[in-house]
Amino acid sequence: MNTQKTYHFQFTLLVVILLICFFTNISLGSVSIPLNSIFGSLFGTIDNSTWQLIITDFRLPKAITAILVGSGLGISGLLMQTLFRNPLAGPFVLGISSGASLGVALVILGSGLFGGLFTTALISKWSIVVAASLGSFLVLLAVLAVSSKVRDTMAILIIGLMFGSITAAVVSVLSYFSSAEQLQQYIFWGFGSLSNLSWSDLIIFFGIYLTGLILSVASIKGLNSLLLGDNYAMSLGVSLKQNRLIIILATSLIAGTITAFAGPIAFIGLAIPHLTRQLFKTSNHKILIPAVFLFGAIVMLICDSIAQIPGSDYTLPINAITALVGAPVVIWLLVRQRKMMF
């Protein structure tokens, strides 16, 4: 009986590719460091203290951030696509990134409007992180409040999109009154960045991410039942409301922190679940969640490696690279619409 496929081969392959991408990502950068010195610095057996510093304080946290961001966005995209029965849903449909953008826009651009309240010196990395978290958290609260009243998941999807429109409008009003310098700072946040995290940031990031991940794993059974439809899920003894709450909470925790720390990173959340379904040919979340985790991490590491433009001093905005990968995937999905399954 081969009806319960185990997918050992695919998983082994993904883990091997992930390891290769991880070490490739660490070994690439503006300063070229030989491979054996990289392994040396990882295990603390290297004399060159500059190299050691570059690896442990810069490249390693960045590679780990890439893994967390890629896997997290992929998983929250998967959760949203199943919950909203919409193959084009992503982690940001609930208005999470809109909320974060609004928070950041208020801090960076609003300083012009509110005068002395925020001086430019105050706009540190942390105030942006706090503003982004607060913004996405408030939008999330609004969405959760609505979702406990509205039974229709499609309505929640539209409400999320409306929040996006409102924030976009507020941001354009704020930009109109802002200086070029402030606009530039806001735009740079919008590019997304994986390299802003120190080890202590990473610990906070990882803690929240892990909570979201545990909630996602706990909702695997409920997610699978949703593949049949709401009424069937209910007939299987699933509590729809509770199920939806856990899924929304998991997504918000994961996507919210990612946006707070790394900026609004586009397309990964939308594209990765589809690519994984193509590779694994299943809709079973017990297989998809670990597969999306690995696949998202791999793609993000590759995107980050490309963004650094190996051998040069330039670093491209990560958001541009993910869109370059993501947009063709979306087009490809639409062209193959007949099989746009989820």
């Binding site: 593949l227 049949l228 007939s235 003894g237």
Partner: protein, 264 residues
């Protein structure tokens, strides 16, 4: 008498069904009384818009009753938890599946959902029940196919297998023969009859195939404008129930053949 009581799976008393909003109550049908017995095939028939789907939706607890009571295995439906209900009643609906990307085996395996652990692992007993369901419906050769590759008739069989895998006392099907050709209509209803014999499950289905239902069902529930009648098909025929089912200008019921004929 006591023996008979034990055999009752589903019972309604003075049941009134319909829709409730804050302002008003729309009663679709009221004073519904019937008893469904173990191992029987029951057909629910009636004209379009008479409330068959509303009745089924109320019986499967998707929609609350307006008044009266529904008892499943002697316990009021409203006081049965969703999980307990899932172990006693399974459904096959007309609504399309959200994802047709599931394989047949995965879909049937979802029927084991109420019994599996927190992450949905299938134990030996679960796989045995799933394989048994595939065997009973005779769809073993389909198990590795994806749902989007199936014909309507095949998909209906798979959905019935999923309901069987849920291992419940009663299976409720909403119009299981829609979209099917004449042969497959007969095939599916015949299959349901066979299942009641082989597994002693109670199967309740709504249908517009009145002639087929008369031939196959042990009991029929007929919904008319003013009342709901539940009896054996032959009694319903002799009482002239089917005659009064539809307006008489186009079709008439032939008692001897048990079918409707177009008026010439």
């Amino acid at each position: 008498m006591i023996e008979k009581k034990i055999n009752i799976i589903l019972q309604t008393e003075q049941l009134s069904i319909g829709y409730k909003t804050k302002k008003a109550e729309t009663v679709v049908a009221s004073n519904i009384n019937f008893e469904l017995h173990k191992g029987q095939l029951i057909g629910l028939v009636g004209a379009n818009g008479i409330g068959k789907s509303t009745l089924l939706r109320t019986l499967i607890k998707v929609q609350p009753e307006l008044s009266g009571s529904i008892k499943l295995n002697g316990i009021a439906l409203e006081s049965t938890s969703n999980l307990d209900l899932a172990k006693q009643l399974s459904i096959v609906l007309t609504e399309p599946l959200t994802s047709k990307n599931l394989s047949v085996y995965e879909l049937v395996a979802l029927g084991r959902h109420p019994y599996t652990n927190w992450i949905g692992n299938l134990a030996q007993v679960d796989t045995d029940i799933i394989n048994n369901a595939l065997e009973l419906i005779n769809i073993n050769d389909l198990k590795d196919k994806r749902c989007y590759e199936l014909s309507d008739g095949q998909l209906q069989k798979v959905m019935i297998a999923r309901a069987l895998a849920q291992d419940t006392d009663i299976i409720v099907l909403d119009e299981p023969t829609t979209h099917l050709d004449m042969y497959h209509k007969a095939y599916i209803l015949k299959l349901l009859q066979k299942l009641t014999k082989d597994t002693h499950k109670t199967i309740l289905f709504s249908s517009h195939e009145i002639d087929l239902a008369i031939q196959l069902c042990d009991t029929m529930i007929v919904m008319r404008k003013d009342d709901v009648v539940c009896d054996q098909p032959c009694n319903l025929i002799s009482e002239g129930v089917f005659e009064s089912l539809f307006p008489k200008d186009l079709i008439s019921f032939d008692d001897t053949t048990g079918s409707f004929r177009i008026k010439k």
